[in-house]
Amino acid sequence: MIRVEGRGLRKVFNRRVIFRDVSFSLGEGEVLLVTGRNGSGKSTLVKIISHVLSPTAGTVEFALDGAPVKGMAARHLGLVSPYLQLYDEFTAAEHLRFAMTIRGLRPDPAGADEVLRRVGLHHRKEDAVRTYSSGMKQRLKFAFALLHRPPVLLLDEPMSNLDAEGVAMVRGVMEEQRGKGVLVVATNDLTDIERYDARVDLNGRER
């Protein structure tokens, strides 16, 4: 059982308050929707939840079966976002091997094949990422985030660059995550997500 708690989050960049007083509490099977206009801090909040950016004030804590997760949350977390970049000179298959080993886990070629089929990239798995279109790169980011089956999945603008088939794939991923962990979706387009359990609207949070 996973829990994600954000308490009293505030972020200031160069004396400019991006947002303040952001709190949420998510249990297994729950979805948090983060909305707000451009520059309101959606991606900043996602980075803070991912532990790659420190908040100016407040805390984000993960708990597994009631015990707080100490140190790296990476093992329990998958992130798909426009600012998360992959390595152009590596193939999809190499990325997925790396996705496991860099987390300190054993490579999982069978799991990699399965997730590549799911995102529709299996037929191009031996091609370097530099030959991919932007939509294919977005699909690979999903494979990279999903392979280790994280209990917490963070999706920032998840439908970026995807065609109709890709959008359907993402909807399937979101529905599945709802049944097995915590899902956080940051988007401007409310049609991206049909059902959610909590919402953080960042508009007006800078004051």
């Binding site: 980075k47 991912s50 990476a74 992130l79 992959l86 152009d88 860099i102 300190g104 999982d108 097995k180």
Partner: protein, 232 residues
């Protein structure tokens, strides 16, 4: 939810080796750092060669020149390991997936292998082209080369991580490195001079102690501060 079969016991060593392996594979495909380092070695040796002409130079001056070649070639390529991650926007991918100490260790291993390989080539070329450079106590020279290369890689890796986020990375790296590498450079130049003069191994122990202490101190500081350097 079915637990992932591979998710049972994450290994810090596997994570660090994975960063090293990724960097090494990337380097084999792009050859960016190796090319920069070797070109710098060749260029600086050629300049030393032209400057000396046929006149030669005393052993202590040649010992210094060898480390000038090594220092400047290191400055041209050792920052790449972190700078490319920032330039390509992949630093966050690493931050998200590996602990800071595993990233630092992987990057350090990569820089160590790079420095050992390039310095071995630099020394061979220096012996081949620079007349009058001779080593009478090989043991002192080899230990100095090993410790000097290690110290250079350890310090450069930390400085590379610090400057990678700056706008003026190219200039900042040698400017910041020189004062921090000065104790190392003084010790290696002295020890190399002793090896050229045919001193006994025990005479160089003082310099070795300085080098080992330097490496130990920089490694300790690196692991203590890297979390703060790497995040945000």
């Amino acid at each position: 939810m079915t637990p992932h079969p591979a998710a049972a016991r994450p290994s810090w060593i596997r994570s660090a080796l994975s960063v090293f392996r990724k960097d090494w594979q990337s380097e084999l495909r792009t050859r960016y750092a190796v090319s920069a380092l070797l070109m710098f070695v060749l260029t600086t040796i050629a300049i030393v060669l032209f400057a000396l002409g046929t006149e030669g130079a005393p052993a202590h001056a040649l010992a210094g020149m060898l480390w000038v070649v090594i220092f400047f070639s290191g400055m041209s390529g050792l920052a790449r390991t972190f700078v490319t991650e920032e330039e390509r926007g992949t630093a966050m991918t690493l931050q998200l997936t590996a602990s800071p100490s595993a990233v630092y260790t992987g990057k350090l291993l990569f820089n160590l292998v790079l420095v050992y390989a390039v310095n071995a080539v630099a020394v061979l070329l220096f012996f081949f082209f620079i007349q009058g450079f001779e080593v009478r106590t090989a043991s002192i020279f080899l230990v100095t080369l090993f410790l000097g290369s290690t110290g250079l890689a350890v310090m450069s890796t930390l400085i590379a991580a610090i400057i990678a986020k700056a706008n003026t990375k190219g200039t900042l790296f040698p400017v910041l490195s020189f004062p921090l590498l000065l104790p190392l450079l003084l010790a290696v130049i002295n020890a190399t001079r002793l090896s050229a003069e045919g001193a006994f191994f025990t005479e160089a122990l003082g310099e070795f102690q300085v080098l080992i202490s330097y490496i130990g101190a920089v490694l300790t500081v690196s692991y203590l501060v890297f979390d703060y350097v790497w995040k945000d």
